[in-house]
Symmetry: C2
Subunit: 209 residues, 2 copies
DNA sequence: CCTCAAACTAGCTAAACAGTCAACTATCAA
DNA sequence: TTGATAGTTGACTGTTTAGCTAGTTTGAGG
């Protein structure tokens, strides 16, 4: 009953795009409405605030983009080390493509926004933490499996996954700051070292120039 | 001749503090003026814009805080590996102290602001890149010395320094997002792995619980 | 103890901004 | 067909913001 609409979807997409291209604080509700071709009255019909929209937009991105992609990359049918190296190389190629296409490295919207608003927007921060820890769990289980297989030196998978997350997000952040995918090129080898892969273990494609 | 003033210094300090506690975008010129106890007219007497103030504030921080601290930590009188492990452990203890004192992990103002404004404020971005690359050069020369000494496996010091920077800044960023110094606790061991220190090489203090 | 340039101030403007609302409209389901 | 309902709209409020300026105060150097 009543009329239907995808204005809320358009608002989430517009918000995510703008916050990614610029930043959370630099984007006004008016900007988002203009991009989504939605009047401000309608915005407030669907969302109570920019923060609430941001939370919804991040969750939508996780559900529609990140989760499917991670499920594929970290499928248990793939050997654990290949999951990790393939993922690391994928980060570089993805950002390199986007850079060639748009001339810009935009980094990771979750981390950029997360770092920006961490002391201010409690709800957005909560969603950011949630997404980061979901992502970390993929790394963790791959590391656990790799240790069990004896492909990498024994370690605490939780701690290793945290360290790997830091390395990855740090590299993506530097790539954004420098507007250059270069810091991502050697993520494969850096991950190799960090994880203490055993000699003879899979080496990432990007590492071989 | 004419009267003297430290209002510009107060403005730089206030701007850096506020941008660190909150973010670049969340802080208005009025906020900065209030904190610095300076009227807005005076602000525009010294600076043309918030961006110009931010550039000056970042450079001041480098000159007064970071450079002296890095010069001490990375003094050539200290063995190269100790420079690095001491530095990594120092990051954790510093943030842990601040956390106990203020209840907050604020991360690295240069990176947070840098990631936030990278696509918008060209001049601020330039200063951020400059400071990051100065910092990286300290890592690089320590790594180069360590390789020369045979304390770590041979590598390209430039690339390694970049990877180390990514790991460090990534960990600091995660600590800010989580408001928890935990991701920094194992920076020592993670750095150890990343740098492929040779067996028997100095192990950081924090790594030993 | 002047002088004058550096530093400061109050108060203004115009734009951008978040947030509200009553009236309107399309659509579904009965 | 129609009534209930979900969605839309533009016009409005008050606030915050950046940026400016004309005039005032201060203090170092002569």
């Amino acid at each position: 009953m009543g009329r239907t609409s995808d204005a809320n979807e358009r608002l989430m997409d517009a918000a995510l795009d703008l916050m990614w291209e610029e930043s959370y604080g630099a984007v006004s509700i008016d900007d988002i409405c203009k991009r989504a071709e939605v009047k401000k009255g309608s915005f407030y019909y669907f969302f109570a605030s920019k923060a609430e929209l941001a939370v919804a937009a991040l969750e939508k991105m996780w559900r529609n983009d990140w989760k499917p992609s991670l499920d594929a990359r970290f499928s248990s049918s793939v050997p654990p080390l290949e999951r990790l190296t393939g993922y690391l190389d994928g980060i570089y190629t993805k950002h390199l493509e986007n850079f060639k296409k748009k001339g810009k490295v935009l980094g990771c919207p979750v981390c950029s926004v997360g770092s920006e608003i961490s002391t201010q927007e409690v709800d957005v921060n909560g969603k950011v933490r949630e997404i980061m820890s979901r992502k970390r769990r993929y790394y963790e289980s791959a590391i656990r499996d790799a240790v069990a297989e004896g492909a990498i030196e024994p370690c605490d998978p939780t701690e290793k996954a945290m360290a790997l997350l830091c390395l990855i997000e740090g590299a993506i952040s530097q790539a954004r700051i420098m507007n250059d995918p270069e810091p991502l090129r050697n993520l494969g080898t850096a991950g190799h070292d960090l994880l203490r892969m055993k000699p003879g273990a899979a080496v990432s494609a990007a590492a071989a120039h």
